[in-house]
Symmetry: C2
Subunit: 506 residues, 2 copies
Amino acid sequence: MFEAAELGRKISREDFDAMAPGLRTELLALQQQLREADFPVVVLFAGVDGAGKNETVNLLNEWMDPRWIVTRAYGPSSDEERERPEYWRYWRDLPPKGKVGLFMSSWYHHPLIDRVTDKISGPELDERLERIVHFEKTLADEGALILKFWMHLSQKAQKKRLKSLEKDELTAWQVTKQDWQHWEMYDKFVAAAERMIMHTSKGHAPWQIVEGADPRYRSAVVLQTLKEAITKHFAARDAVKKVNAEIKGKKSDQPGALASQPSILSSLDMTQDIEGAEYNQALQEQRARLAHLYHAAKEKGVSTALVFEGWDAAGKGGTIRRLTNALNARDYQVIPIAAPTEEERAQHYLWRFWRHIARAGRVTVFDRSWYGRVLVERVEGFCTEEAWRRAYGEIVDFEKQLTDHGIVMCKFWLHITAEEQLARFNARGEIEYKKWKLTDEDWRNREQWGAYEQAVNDMVERTSTTDAPWTLVEANSKNFARVKVMRTVADALEAALGKPGKKKKD
Amino acid sequence: MFEAAELGRKISREDFDAMAPGLRTELLALQQQLREADFPVVVLFAGVDGAGKNETVNLLNEWMDPRWIVTRAYGPSSDEERERPEYWRYWRDLPPKGKVGLFMSSWYHHPLIDRVTDKISGPELDERLERIVHFEKTLADEGALILKFWMHLSQKAQKKRLKSLEKDELTAWQVTKQDWQHWEMYDKFVAAAERMIMHTSKGHAPWQIVEGADPRYRSAVVLQTLKEAITKHFAARDAVKKVNAEIKGKKSDQPGALASQPSILSSLDMTQDIEGAEYNQALQEQRARLAHLYHAAKEKGVSTALVFEGWDAAGKGGTIRRLTNALNARDYQVIPIAAPTEEERAQHYLWRFWRHIARAGRVTVFDRSWYGRVLVERVEGFCTEEAWRRAYGEIVDFEKQLTDHGIVMCKFWLHITAEEQLARFNARGEIEYKKWKLTDEDWRNREQWGAYEQAVNDMVERTSTTDAPWTLVEANSKNFARVKVMRTVADALEAALGKPGKKKKD
């Protein structure tokens, strides 16, 4: 695979100097254009030590406008990072739309080194590479331009390079024992890299192998590739936008496209209720269970993520408050998901949920959630059909990362009938301190009942997994709903604490 | 001090139930009004264990709209937190404008416990309380409403309360060994609390002592106080706005108010230069020093914060790039300070700088900085005179927290003459890849030269401290400026590494 990167190719100073000003101007112009763009640029550098990863990143920072570049490199995880799924730290560092992110020692680094040092087997490496493919696909699907450079040196060239760095007083410190250790494992390193590159070079995130021996040559290749890729990406995005606009135009001619089918919700027994003393007793019982169980979970560092979705006026708020009353306020956080902020809008739609993933032992309650994409955004046409269809897989993948990390997850759809909703809307208008809850939007959403029902049905079908199941809650009776939710959470905690702890990644 | 909170005051269920709906409606209405407000509400709870801190916070979450409440409690610091100044974690959790933040075990907790357990002396406690006063003053000066509740119990009442919690299966786990230890130290605890409350109860952030024995009574007091304080604060803010508008109106009649005085900048020898081989040698020399020194600093976990301010076209970008070229790209971050984002605008103006404070051993370069407040914001009238005058003290305090934590700090003003700037502006228009750098704003800023000169003068005079000194850089010669900046940073690192390490707080 790397033969073409060991040919000793060079560019003379004259040729480089002749090319440089033009290329630089073009890159700066592209960067200016990028500031208005609706996508980020993610550039990864990996490769043989000494092949110029750092130098190239420095050069990019020097040639381009550093204000629109984010450079990140990763050392050992902090405890805040270890208490969250592995990819949390990468998510929090992603460049927003319009910026370029340069990543070193990033998500490829640990799998590769772990394989070279025999901490993981080949198939285990493949599994972790699969995670990378998913991650990059998720970013690319939302429009990110992803470029990956493998900076290469032959073993001979690497030795020469390390020796020359060591000779220079200015750079000697850059060469570590680890570098020489890696050099000795060169064959193994390169074999693992080959497997890695083959597995993860995709149309949406291709690897480019760069011969790293000559600084001018490697710089020219990286800069030229970057320039061409950004230019192409602009063209491709324009084409996608055109197609989407056409699809949207067509769709408005078919108003029946979202006709309601018999949904999973229609099978619920909505008459279930629990009253008076029985309710009080059940509530107290579940409160006590929850209080014990969440405390035990906290001791073990097990976090809980609870997702609440449901019809307007289904009683999400009241249910959440009954639940959190069993907890100590210092241990939980209710995250209300409203319209995204400016910083959130400039990121992948999952970014704003990643940022709320709590440290070990906490309970996080999402009052509405990432499911907005396949509910309101789908029904109201805030995103393309392609985007919400894709979201099912992205969400399952996201939740899997949480549950694989040991986070206990419950997802609730609070269901009420259309008649019950109407009765509650009318009642809200009459109680002074509940008036603020009723908005015009609630009435508008109600008109879309059928479309939402279809969306809920699809959502539950496609995203209910063993580790992150949906619970449909018959909520015409608030009492019944509250008890059922608390019981479900308690059951989930009990099951999680009972079974042998899942291995935490990282 | 606490006698009035040991009287056994109660509210009957009937009275409470009669009062509750009205109070709740008012609080919800205020919260709605708050969403449009230009200030956050910061509510702290401290007090005797068992006096209802958690219960009250739960109640507030239940009664009000939890979507506009942020609840935070603090356990032991994470390593990411320990690697930064003590207050970093509080800054990152501050509620944005329009939200209510409920804080438990927060900035008062550690000083108090440290005093009770004799880890610190009385005077040391005072010193840490002084830090709190500064912090709260900074927030209040920007408009925050700050309320602090001391939830109180007599020693007898505390014993009763802990016993009763222990009896109830539902709450037994809440009582820890530590609680009983604290109970045994009751007198000491209360004495320290008294000192703390006396020292930190200020007009802008008053303590309210609440008798905590009766849940209804304490709830009523907290809710009522909160309601009244928010109502009053709205009125006070309106009054301030009116006065500010009047001042602004008057100022526009006095265009000569910012007449230029002979400034510190006029004393600089702007002819200094360094050329050719001499320059190259000096540059290499400083690069080598820097490369060594920053690496040594990294090993020791010593971070560096560099601030670059200067005239447009003074060469900040080029100087920063020469400097960062001596560093490994994974160890530094250039933070360009442009217009604040929506999330940043909703916070205290220092918040957006706190969020960029790096972990141990990193170099952070601020390309423009928090000094914007006393430069562009002052000159362009983006903030009130009262605000920028206050900022000198706030900034000195902010930087002191960084340098006290062991961060090495250098601040550079890159100075060029007005003639040199004009020459550079004209040249920029002619070099293709530099054209983008020249904007209309640059020309507008140039017209305000005198006002900026005065602002720079005041800034340097008022914010140059021993640990965070300003270096004025004669930058008519780019070469001279680059070498001087690099030498200054290297000198600062050398001095910091030479002297015995400062004790890290926390």
